[in-house]
């Protein structure tokens, strides 16, 4: 799909060179459509439904404020006051049981004001078994009704392994490993994958989705040296050495699979596979299995290896090891590193991102630039630590400045600055790439 989009956009750009734009005119408003986003995630404590009106020219107010929930819906006009139910069509004591979803209260957004959440939640859905059917019914205030039905997927096993390891926690060698996923389904239409930096053990505290894929097969192999090919991702390695990653493997029903694999052609408006009656969007279901990856690689650059960082930071003796791996596809010294040891607020085991580069004038022996950032989470909250120094190829340890920013309340930080010693203690010697 990505390939096709690139091809078409490239061709289109060629043609547009020969074309000219037509004048922009105002067109009448059209009737809005109820947009539904809801995925029953089997095992999740709560289920939710997001309701928005489609964009019709009635309002230019749409905003992206973060993951929904907890953020309010806002990429269309959030629908308030709807009557939303989920009806269980399985067997047992819950048969034909209907659950009414509760609308989350309005939220005040800076610069926007108070907005409806557009989100309806429940934690009372019956325990779900593979093959069960759950029906969604949405009745908006204006009387519009949207219906959907999902079939709950299930598996006998989800097996994720590398050449040498199998299980929930895996070490993946970027250059030498592949990640194998085998699923033995009971009921499933497709597999969905999501690979993200571990949000806790990543410098930005968010992680972000690094790579997603859906397939209608039940097994899959990812090469360890998989590379993104979206320009926004800068062609980076999907499995980033020196980082902790979360691999989510889900079996999905048809509705979810069609939701993620299809899209509307921007010219014709057709192509999206919609399984809702009376609205557009998704009401699907997935069963997710989480796997945690520690990604390593060969360390054959002189900058790679094990570094010891020691000194007094924020009046505390700190002594950590950075296991540093250059990003294998970038040539600007960007790296990630596992961070282990004793730090400001106690033991730390996380991942750092940084850059270690030589300026061209100092390539032979002069000082380079070493910058690394990592985040720690403790009972005191989150703190960010930035270490900056100017190492030289010719010498060993070097002094670095540590800047610590402790989040004392949301978006409010206490900063401190200290000096530490950074020393490379193991790694390849002078095998410059």
């Amino acid at each position: 799909m990505v390939i096709a989009r690139h091809a078409l956009s490239a061709l289109a750009s060629c043609l547009v060179l020969l074309a000219c734009e037509l004048d922009e005119i105002t067109i009448p408003q059209v009737q809005p459509v109820v947009v539904v986003h809801s995925v029953i995630n089997v095992g999740a404590p709560t289920q939710f439904v997001i309701l928005e009106q489609s964009l019709t020219g009635r309002s230019s107010q749409h905003y992206s404020s973060g993951p929904v929930p907890p953020s309010p819906a806002g990429e269309g006009i959030p629908i308030a006051g709807a009557y939303v139910t989920l009806t269980y069509h399985g067997t047992g004591s819950c048969e034909q049981r209907t659950v009414i979803l509760q609308e989350r209260p309005p939220v005040e957004l800076g610069g926007v004001g108070i907005v409806a959440s557009g989100t309806y939640m429940t934690s009372e859905l019956c325990s779900l078994s593979p093959g069960d059917r759950v029906e969604l019914r949405v009745e908006a205030l204006n009387g519009e009704v949207v219906r959907g039905m999902t079939v709950i997927p299930g598996v006998r096993s989800i097996d994720v392994h590398t050449r040498s390891e199998r299980g929930v926690y895996l070490t993946v060698d970027h250059g030498a490993d592949s990640v194998w996923i085998d699923v033995d389904p009971i009921v499933a239409r497709a597999l969905a994958f999501e690979l993200a930096r571990d949000p806790i053990r990543t410098p930005d505290g968010y992680g972000g989705t690094h790579f997603t894929l859906a397939t209608d097969t039940m097994s899959m192999v990812f090469a360890g040296n998989l590379r993104t090919f979206e320009d926004a991702d800068e062609g980076e390695a999907v499995f980033r050495p020196g980082s902790y990653m979360t691999l989510s493997v889900a079996v999905a029903d048809t509705n979810y699979y069609d939701f993620v694999r299809s899209f509307s052609n921007p010219l014709t408006g057709r192509g999206f596979i919609n399984h809702l009656d009376g609205g557009i969007g998704v009401f699907g279901s997935v069963l997710t299995s989480e796997h945690y990856l520690r990604v390593i690689d060969r360390q054959d650059d002189e900058r790679e290896g094990l570094y010891r960082v020691s000194g007094t930071v924020d009046s505390v003796d700190a002594d950590i090891l950075l296991d540093l791996y250059l990003e294998p596809l970038l040539r600007d010294g960007e790296f990630s590193a596992f961070v282990d040891g004793a730090w400001v607020h106690g033991p730390v085991s996380t991942s750092a991102d940084g850059q270690y580069r030589y300026t061209s004038a100092a390539a032979s022996s002069g000082p380079g630039r070493f910058d690394v950032t990592f985040m720690t989470v403790s009972e005191n909250g989150r703190a960010w630590h930035a270490i900056s120094g100017a190492p030289s190829r010719a010498s060993g340890p070097f002094q670095a400045i540590v800047t610590t920013a402790v989040e004392i309340e949301p978006y409010v930080f206490r900063n401190s600055t200290d000096t530490v010693t950074v020393e490379r203690v193991a790694g390849a010697l002078f095998a410059v790439r």
Binding site: G57, T209, S219, G235, T268, G269
Partner: protein
Amino acid sequence: MRTSALVAAIVVMLAASASGQTQGADSSLLNRQANLYVHAVPLEIALRDLSLRSGIRIAFSPDIVRGPALVSCACPDVTVRDALDSLLHSTGLVYAEMAGNVVVGPPVAAPGFGSSISVAGAAEAQQLRQVSGRIVAGENGPPVVSALVRGLEFGSRANTDQLGQFVLHDVPPRQVQLVVEATGFVTDTVTATPIQHDMTVVLNRAAVELEPVMITADALGPPDRSRFDSTTQISAITIQPADILNIPGMFESDVIRAVQLLPGTIAKNDYSITYNVRGGEGDQNLVRLDGVTVFNPSHLGGLFSTFDANAVERVDFFTGGFPASYPGRLSSVLDISLRDGRRDGLHGGGQVSLLSSKLLLEGPLGPVSYLVGVRRTYADAVVATFTSYTMPYYFTDAVAKLHVPLGSGGSVALTGYWGRDDLDVNIVSSVDEANPAAELREPIDMVFNWGNRLAGLTWRQPLAGATVETRASVTEFFTTLAIMPDMARWDNNVRLLSASSDVTFAPGNHHRLHVGAGVEQYDMTYDLLSPLFEFGGQPGNYGGLLPLFNTDYHPTIWSLYADDEWDLSSWLKLRPGVRLEHVPAAAFTGLAPRASFKLFLTRDKAVIGSVGRYHQAVHSLRDQELPITFYEFWIGADEFVPVAQSDHAVLGYEQWFDHGIQLNVEGYRKTFRNLVIPNSAQSLRDVGNQYRPMEGESWGVDVLLRRHTGRVQGWIGYGFNKTERRAGGESFPPAHDRRHTVNLVLRAPGPLGSELGLRWGWGSPLPYTGLNGEWSHRTYRLSEHSFGSGDTEPISTAINAERFPSYSRLDVGLHWDFTKWGIQWKPYLQVANVYNRRNVFLYVFDYGSRPATRSGVAQVPLFPTFGIEFTW
């Protein structure tokens, strides 16, 4: 005025009848009812009409009856005698009944001829024979198409067909002289002995080759006229290189752009080389180069066609009722013939334009003639020079033809074509914009190329009065889209191996039978591979790894066909035919009967009609709603994909006027069954659900008024069409459902000694699928059980429920022609879309703003180009 022996005999006989005008007072022929009504027509026409209406063969020499005077006769209820008395009054001509014929001639005695000659003349009239033959270019040369064969001393005429064959009727049973004329050849006169019924005539090329179309049109009559005279073929138009080269356009002369201007044909926009014929889909058009199928005959998504107009000899376009010998397509046949290379030394030519250059060489190699042409665009460089854009695209193509004469008038022709488009796009840059000097990473590039290549062998051999034509060919469309370095690769190959052999012969005086057999073996493969991924195991089929995607189709089509051009009488021609196709992969055996007729009202007027069934075992899976076609995604019939079927019924009228003016009016109705469209809900793993079935109908009227000769030539084409499709429970007009289409194409003397080419087109609104709002297609995060932001996507209305504004465009071109340094130069200047009409290409809606807005992209703007052609 030449005096033929036959006329002399008639004259003597008429003289012997003294003052009486009839030879027998109780003649039954002359007492028949005339059924004639003519007003102010030439005598020749009146006599032909009388012959047709009364059913009596009336013999006369055209040279005798021709003259400026016009005659009239309101004679529906009178006898033939009375009608002739009326028509011949004051002409000096008399008539007589002889041996079942009525002959008309001057009442003058011919010295030296006696009554025995009168008897011989009558016997001649009884024993008129047929002479057939073949015209070839040089010893063992290729057939000469559209040559004119006419009696030197009698009125019969015939034109050669694609195989260079002719059948001359009503030849006197004695030694006669036949005149053979053809474009670019020295006119020859040959003798046919009294017992000769078959001959091969070798024509020599003229020392100085004049512009073909001028000679053809003015001296010999256009191919369309010879087709009108000699066959029942309906819905057929021939375009010659001069026609194509003088149609102004955006870049360069283009065969398919010319075809798009013919009635019955709809081009959805300026950018698309795809065309729709009489309500059919784009994939229902068979495009052949010297008999070899070309799958995707376009470059740059349709801006250029793959055919160099300078290498083309002629283009025959059939919008319906095409002969049984053509392999399966439902809607049209575009049959492009390459020229043979010249035999009178090395010649060449070329063109340099803003965006491309081409070079063509031709000449003899011993007895063999060759023609080689190459072309390459440099639009990428031009765009980079004059704009801030990058156009990472170019194409190259080459065409070649070898003609090898064999003994006994046979020949072998080898045709080859190779063309490739290259589009290379950097996806991930090796540098950051902030610091372009430092290489940051290994770049990621998209390498996209596609093209056609083909080779075809045609062996023609006269054999025992028949002509055997055997073809073998391989044609391939290929495309590769790769994400480099070595990340993913998409390959699509469509290959067709075909062989056919057919025989054309004339059993008896009034039949021309064409029978043949063929086989086509398709191999269509789609492969998406990546070393970075492997997939495996379908639900319920645990285990086993697969590539990302692959599918293939391998239909084989066996065919038998026959048709008979049957001259039932001088005023009625029939052409019954049948094509039998067997597609084992689809368990399909289909009989496709076809029949056409031509009823001559006069020599220049005819009612024409055709009915037939057509099958098509290959389809293109593409979104017909998209305004542009990158290329076709071909699939073939198998256990899931059906063989498509269409029934045609065409009824029309054709008339030829003086000055080579042709009027053709045809009404048609077509049905479409078992069409396929892409299934957006398809699963890559579920074989056979890549398509959804579709059916439909179309009907309409096409009108062509064309002038083939004179200083001002061209045509006005009008098409009315109504087309409907049904799929998935919906009934809708397809994207090419244009109700009215008008095209005017003119070639005339222009200012400053130039030749003017003009093309004006108007089309009523085409349908499109409107958008009814937008929605955010969010992304679901498995690990967080939440939705993130998404891409805004449109919500559509009913399929093709809206219509664009009407279309209009005027193109003007000027060509000059001079010779310097032994080279003929033809500089040209063209302006496309002279009045800069902003024809809508597509609309862009924005429902995310308040109020909602619609903008769009126009088609070709005012676009001047210039260049120069040269030949030596």
